[in-house]
């Protein structure tokens, strides 16, 4: 132990002598570690956020969409084929034992006006069960009812973003807003939900009865007033897989599909969608960290190069140390400790800079970042390892110099 302290003493003295060179040597490690910490923080933040969203989205949610293929998550109502109908939704609701709630969905975008303010937002026409399926709560006011759907009542629920942009702080309940020149009464305001895993503002939305939506707002493109863009389903606890099978069977039957024909609809478990996003976020995270790690290797190579130069420049000094009694292992230890000191010190500075960068990124880019203790500890260990690994060759070179040759070196 004493010998280790001795080596550290010798090494620190040597590093102090040439502070500029020491600083430049550390630069590669500082950047490398800083980059890894920041990238891993961004990746972890994204993953954590998705996990949060999965927890908040309400599990057991199934999306049924027309057409056979659909990438990514929830899509808006641009359909190429209109194969799903409101009757399909009703059938699913009554005939699938593992289905708890069903809500047909028709979406579109529209301009909303109140007084002098207007706002372009997404309008969703649906039934009251939609709120239960999507885990949406009413903050003030009331949801609309099945009766409103039956009577195509002109009522609407507003998300917080819409309220903020139209009402300047006033109470929207009972007020009349105009959507495509049609007057709607605001009956409720939705509790805020924040950003979705796909980065969309979940509070920028108006929800109204599907019948009203089709008649007054989202009409036009459909030939058939009975079709819907999506059907949302909440399955019973633990029965999601069964529900999916039941729905598929039922719809194939209703759409009279032959055994050799593909589904003309897509049944997807929402949790799967988000899980897929989570795993791609993780892959992204690993990719980012790997790329940043390359800079760590470059930093290590930098240490090795500078140390090699340093050994050459200090040949005479090494010879002198050997002459006054430094053994092979003394010289080896000195240069190894110098290398590890540089790499660990650089790693520490890199960690501090990386954390600072993560904070800046989360503040300015509004991305979630998360620096874990684990990543800091790992970064430390790694910098130490880099020092040992890349410092070894120069240290060895120094230790095995011939004292006579070294003393003669000009």
């Amino acid at each position: 132990m004493n010998k280790v302290l001795q080596s550290m003493r010798i090494a620190f003295r040597a590093l102090r002598v040439n502070k500029l060179r020491s600083a430049l040597t550390m630069l590669g490690i500082i950047i490398g570690v800083g980059a890894v910490i920041a990238m891993v923080a961004v990746g972890s933040g994204a993953t954590a956020r998705i996990q949060e969203q999965i927890a908040s989205i309400g599990s057991n949610v199934i999306i049924i969409q027309p057409g056979s293929q659909n990438f990514g998550g929830v899509k808006s109502g641009n359909t190429f084929t209109q194969t799903l109908t409101e009757d399909d939704a009703r059938a699913v609701s009554t005939e699938c034992p593992n289905v708890l709630y069903t809500a047909p969905l028709q979406q579109g975008n529209a301009q909303v006006i109140f007084g002098n303010n207007n706002w372009f937002t997404q309008v969703r026409g649906t039934t009251p069960d939609y709120l239960a399926i999507r885990d949406m709560e009413i903050q003030t006011g009331q949801p609309f009812t099945q009766g409103d759907v039956d009577s195509s009542a002109k009522v609407a629920l507003l998300g917080k973003t819409v309220v903020d942009n139209l009402f300047n702080g006033g109470d929207p309940i009972g007020q009349i807003i105009r959507i495509k020149k049609v007057p709607f009464t605001v009956v409720g305001v939705l509790a805020p939900k924040g950003q979705s895993p796909t980065g969309q503002d979940q509070d920028d939305v108006i929800i109204m009865p599907i019948s009203t939506a089709k008649k007054k707002v989202v009409g036009g493109r459909q030939n058939n007033m009975l079709t819907v863009g999506q059907i949302l389903v909440q399955a019973r606890e633990g029965g999601t897989k069964f529900a999916v099978t039941e729905i598929q069977g039922l719809l194939r039957q209703r759409h009279r599909l032959q055994p050799n024909q593909d589904d003309d609809f897509d049944v997807r478990n929402l949790e799967e969608v988000y899980a897929a996003q989570e795993s791609s976020a993780e892959v992204m995270s690993i990719l980012l960290a790997s790329i940043a790690s390359v800079s760590l290797i470059v930093g290590g190579i930098g240490i090795m190069n500078i140390m090699l130069v340093s050994v050459t420049e200090r040949t005479k000094e090494i010879g002198l140390r050997q002459a006054v009694g430094a053994k092979t292992k003394d010289i080896l230890a000195q240069f190894l400790v110098e290398a590890v000191t540089l790499s660990v010190l650089g790693g520490t500075i890199g960690i501090i800079l990386g954390v600072a960068a993560s904070l800046l990124i989360s503040y300015f880019a509004q991305w979630a970042t998360f620096v874990s203790i684990g990543s800091i500890v790992l970064a430390f260990l790694f910098s130490g390892l880099v020092g040992v690994f890349f410092g070894f060759y120069p240290a060895r070179k120094a230790a095995f110099l011939d004292p006579i040759e070294a003393l003669r070196y000009e």
């Binding site: 004493n2 001795q6 003493r9 010798i10 003295r13 002598v17 040439n18 005479k316 000094e317 002198l320 140390r321 050997q322 002459a323 006054v324 009694g325 430094a326 053994k327 092979t328 292992k329 003394d330 004292p403 006579i404 003393l407």
Partner: protein, 252 residues
């Protein structure tokens, strides 16, 4: 026997350069007693540098034996040689070889860092060594802030720190002016006469060699002459004369 510090029997050193073998030293036998002050002379290629390297345990003989303080050097490995150098030999070089941007005190301490024994009291021991060469007031100076003579004195203090049996000086005055050279010679003579430290100085200048008690001359890898100096120069007295000469500067 006990009085012998160095005993060399039939020493040979060969270097292999490509296909050639250079016989740097051939059949050298001599002894040096403790407490003597020896100068080694000879032209380049005479083998004196090779001899000095072996004497300093930086190199090993190809044949023959070298006993330092009754230990046979030829059988030691690299690390054991380093240990001997640390404990028994103090080096003084022509170019001083001090660590740059390091204080005089830290420079003197250097051999202590590699010593196996007692590690305490570095500072005190280093200060004592600096005091012995008259530089205690410059302990915190860097080499760049010291004159050539002062640097060499720091180097001498460093060579003394571990109480060596032998001080080995390679052209110690080669980089110094005449007056400073005499100052350095004075230190060596004092260390030898007052403290009984054995000194071996390698030089090509006869003037410097004549401060020693014995001069060994090498030629072609062998000892050419090995003679006691009848009347060694007295560095201390020469310095005193120098001072009075300076004071007696005649008016222009």
């Amino acid at each position: 026997m006990a009085n012998e510090l160095i005993r060399i029997d039939n020493l040979r050193k060969d270097y292999h350069v490509g296909d050639f073998t250079v016989h740097a030293l051939r059949h050298v036998s001599l002894t040096i007693d403790r407490g003597t002050y020896v100068a080694i002379m000879g032209p380049s290629g005479s083998g004196k540098s090779t001899f000095m390297n072996i004497l300093g345990c930086l190199d090993k003989p190809s044949a023959g034996t070298y006993h330092l303080d009754e230990v046979s050097i030829g059988e030691l490995d690299r690390d054991e040689l380093a240990d001997i150098r640390n404990r028994k030999i103090g080096f003084v070089f022509q170019q001083f070889n001090l660590l740059a941007r390091t204080t005089a005190l830290e420079n003197v301490e250097l051999p202590l860092l590699y010593a196996d024994g007692d590690k305490s009291k570095f500072k005190e021991r280093a200060m004592a060594a600096l005091t012995a060469v008259g530089l205690d007031n410059r302990a915190d100076h860097h080499p760049s802030q010291l004159s050539g003579g002062q640097q060499q004195r720091v180097a001498i203090a460093r060579s003394l720190i571990n109480n060596p049996r032998l001080i080995l000086a390679d052209e110690p005055t080669g980089a110094l002016d005449s007056k400073t050279s005499v100052e350095i010679m004075a230190i060596f003579q004092r260390l030898n006469r007052e403290q009984g430290i054995s000194i071996v100085v390698v030089t090509h200048e006869p003037d410097i060699a004549h401060y020693a008690d014995r001069i060994i001359t090498f030629k072609d890898g062998k000892v050419l002459t090995d003679e006691l100096v009848a009347e060694p120069r007295n560095a201390k007295r020469e310095l005193e004369q120098w001072v009075t000469e300076d004071e007696e500067e005649p008016a222009a």
